[in-house]
């Protein structure tokens, strides 16, 4: 009989080693998968985990790309983690990300082709507001009518996708695009561009914002009263109420922060790496960020590392596809396995494994 015994506090040793164990297990399982597909498993694993960082031909380009890919994931995940800790479930970050990009882009394009240096800051504010406003719909419905925020935030993703398609073929369509869908290119208009800040690093304003958000969330959660209230609301909702935490205020606050950060991520993406509003501008960052948040154990630093790891598997997966001809589906299944193992072995940090029968209490 095997049973688990809760540790009084998470084991430091296992907290540090479980991710390594998980990666090792994934390599075994993934290696088997790749071998079944007729590929050299070791070569495939090296391409996914090693080449993006150290390959002589690619690494100088791929390494900074890690930040480009991880930036929006981290920014969104940090926002989501606050709500998740308080038991407030914003599953619709994807929609807030889209709306942030649309509102931000629209605010900037209203002044096209002005060269004013105020345009980019204006767009940043508008992007945050766009995401915030979209998150306020589930927040207010929850506070006013007790409508479940999971459902509303999730369904609003699909509504946002429809608005995005309309924007790309309608109200934000570039007048110089000859009738083709897509807005003006924002990364090529100096007033709205969000360029790489230091050449060769991948750093753009979105990545900077992600780092600031990590620090901000860290300070908030460990030093600030609000952080205490969030944790309390999540762990003991009743006690929180006695301690004077107003549940409605917390809902609005958490959804405000996560919505605004998701909106910011969308804005920085549309003005930088993506460059324009297009029909398929969104690429599931909002959903992947939920995984990143939990993979990082809802802790800001954990999220930072989890975001980088996810980004690595994306970029390594791309390399493996065209270098080794692995199907995209295999990469997806591989990512799924990595997550399974990471989540599964986590049990070792929080629990002791005991063999034998339960001792009489």
């Amino acid at each position: 009989m095997i049973r688990l015994e809760k540790r009084p506090s998470p084991s430091r040793f296992w907290t540090a080693t479980t991710p390594l164990l998980a990666v090792a297990l994934t390599m075994v399982a993934g290696g088997i998968l790749f071998a079944l597909l007729g590929k050299d498993p070791l070569e495939a694993l090296r391409t996914i985990f090693w080449d993006p960082l150290f390959h002589p031909q690619f690494a100088s380009y791929s390494r900074p790309q890690l930040l480009v890919k991880a930036g929006p994931l981290i920014l969104i995940a940090v926002g989501l983690s606050l709500g998740f800790r308080a038991g407030i479930w914003n599953i619709g970050a994807e929609g807030q990300y889209i709306m942030g990009a649309i509102v931000g882009a629209a605010a900037g394009l209203a002044f096209y082709p002005s060269g004013s240096p105020l345009i980019f800051p204006l767009m940043v504010v508008a992007g945050a507001l766009g995401g915030w406003a979209w998150a306020m719909i589930p927040a207010l419905l929850r506070v006013k009518f007790r409508t479940n925020e999971i459902l509303v935030s999730l369904l609003l993703v699909y509504v946002a996708q429809n608005i995005l398609a309309s924007a790309a073929v309608g109200f934000l369509r570039s007048p110089e695009g000859g009738g083709f869908p897509g807005s003006r290119n924002l990364s090529q208009w100096s007033s709205s561009a969000n360029p790489e800040l230091i050449t060769g690093t991948g750093m753009h304003w979105g990545v900077v914002a992600a780092f600031i958000a990590v620090i901000f969330a860290y300070v908030l959660m460990s030093k600030h009263l609000l952080g205490y209230q969030i944790r309390l609301a999540g762990q003991a909702p009743r006690a929180a109420r006695f301690a004077g935490v107003e549940p409605g205020r917390l809902v609005v606050l958490c959804l405000s922060i996560s919505g605004a950060l998701a909106g910011l991520a969308g804005l920085f993406e549309v003005t930088g790496p993506a460059g324009q509003i297009s029909i398929d501008f969104n690429s599931n960052y909002g959903f992947t960020a939920i995984i990143v948040a939990f993979l990082g154990r809802l802790h800001p630093v954990g999220i930072l590392l989890a975001g980088l790891l996810m980004a690595l598997t994306y970029i390594g997966g791309e390399l493996a596809q065209f270098m080794l001809g692995l199907p995209a589906a295999a990469i997806q299944a591989f990512q799924g396995m990595l997550l399974f193992f990471l989540l599964g072995v986590d049990v070792l940090s929080n629990y002791r494994i005991r063999f034998g029968r339960r001792s009489v209490a």
């Binding site: 999971i150 459902l151 609003l156 608005i163 591989f334 399974f340 989540l343 599964g344």
Partner: protein, 308 residues
């Protein structure tokens, strides 16, 4: 009987029943899972796995019924991964469910590589003779394929199971308070594992309904978000089987109606029609929720460990 310049309500209702069946099946399964206190966000992954398992077996054996059977098995097996991780290794349910969706989408695409463009034997309508010829009612009630009736029977069965049987009571007890259920001697983990596998099987059936009846063909990613809608429906339904049916038919109905309105040339902006299924679902939920309690199982999403 016509409305909106040529939309026949009987035909519309018959179509919406077909359109709603995949999300209805998946949502019913997820509801049972959540009633047991487990939140599995991997519905999309289990649906698509069911879709391909059912498709492969139906093609290889020539029997759509065997296809459905193995779709249920496939969905249940995949859900077992979720069960082991969340119940035995106590991993976080939200993240594990999302990972399951990611894995299921990739895994199904790998399984299905040889089945693109293949035609599967599809499920015919049950011939109910004279009943099917009754005007209006015959079209709505007596002219469907067997799975539509299976899904409706499942609504009643789950409702009765949860309400009247001892096993249903235990399942609800586990979902409301696992500590109390454990103290009463119930096997919390075992109940939850069974519920999770039932949910996987239902999601698998819903997926197979897509690949074997509603579409019918296999393509990667063909569930296209249906699993997420099923999840939303459970919340919409306040964890009540009858309301899951209402929600699924409402969503499916608006989806079919908006396409019919477009086809009939209604002068409503297409963008609005296109988002109407989501907006109307939200609106109805707001109206329902003003009336009070939503009844989420109290232990929903929380891990249980006997020694803790």
């Amino acid at each position: 009987m016509e409305m909106f310049g040529g939309i026949n309500p009987a035909v519309l209702i018959a179509s919406l029943m077909v359109a709603s069946t995949p999300i209805l099946l998946a949502a019913l399964g997820e509801m049972v899972v959540e009633k047991a206190g487990v939140l599995n966000l991997g519905v999309e992954g289990m649906m698509i796995t069911g879709a391909i398992c059912g498709f492969i077996v139906a093609v290889e054996t020539g029997s759509p019924l065997l296809g459905f059977l193995f779709a249920a098995v496939g969905g249940a097996l995949l859900s077992l991964i979720f069960g082991v991780l969340t119940q035995l290794l106590l991993s976080n349910q939200v993240a594990t469910g999302l990972a399951l969706t990611l894995f299921g989408l990739g895994f199904s695409a790998l399984l299905g590589q040889g089945y693109i463009g293949v035609k599967a034997p599809t499920l015919g309508r049950i011939d109910l003779g004279p009943l099917s010829d009754i005007p209006v009612l015959g079209r709505i009630l007596f002219s469907h394929d067997p799975m539509v009736y299976v899904s409706l029977a499942l609504v009643v069965a789950i409702w009765a199971f949860l309400r009247f049987t001892r096993a249903g009571l235990i399942l609800r007890a586990v979902g409301e308070s696992h500590e109390a259920a454990h103290a009463l001697g119930y096997k919390v983990i075992r109940v939850r594992m069974l519920a999770i596998m039932f949910g996987g099987a239902c999601a698998g059936l819903g997926g197979a309904y897509l690949s074997l009846v509603r579409v019918p063909q296999w393509t990667e990613g063909m569930t296209a978000g249906a699993g997420w809608i099923a999840l939303a429906l459970v919340v919409f339904a306040s964890w009540k089987a009858g309301r899951v049916l209402v929600g699924a038919y409402l969503f499916g109905g608006v989806t079919v109606l908006q396409l019919n309105l477009q086809a009939a040339g209604a002068k409503v902006p297409v963008e609005l029609l296109s988002m109407s299924p989501y907006l109307i679902t939200i609106l109805v939920l707001v109206l329902i929720s003003t009336r009070g309690a939503q009844g989420a199982p109290a232990s929903l999403g929380r891990s249980f460990n006997a020694s803790s």
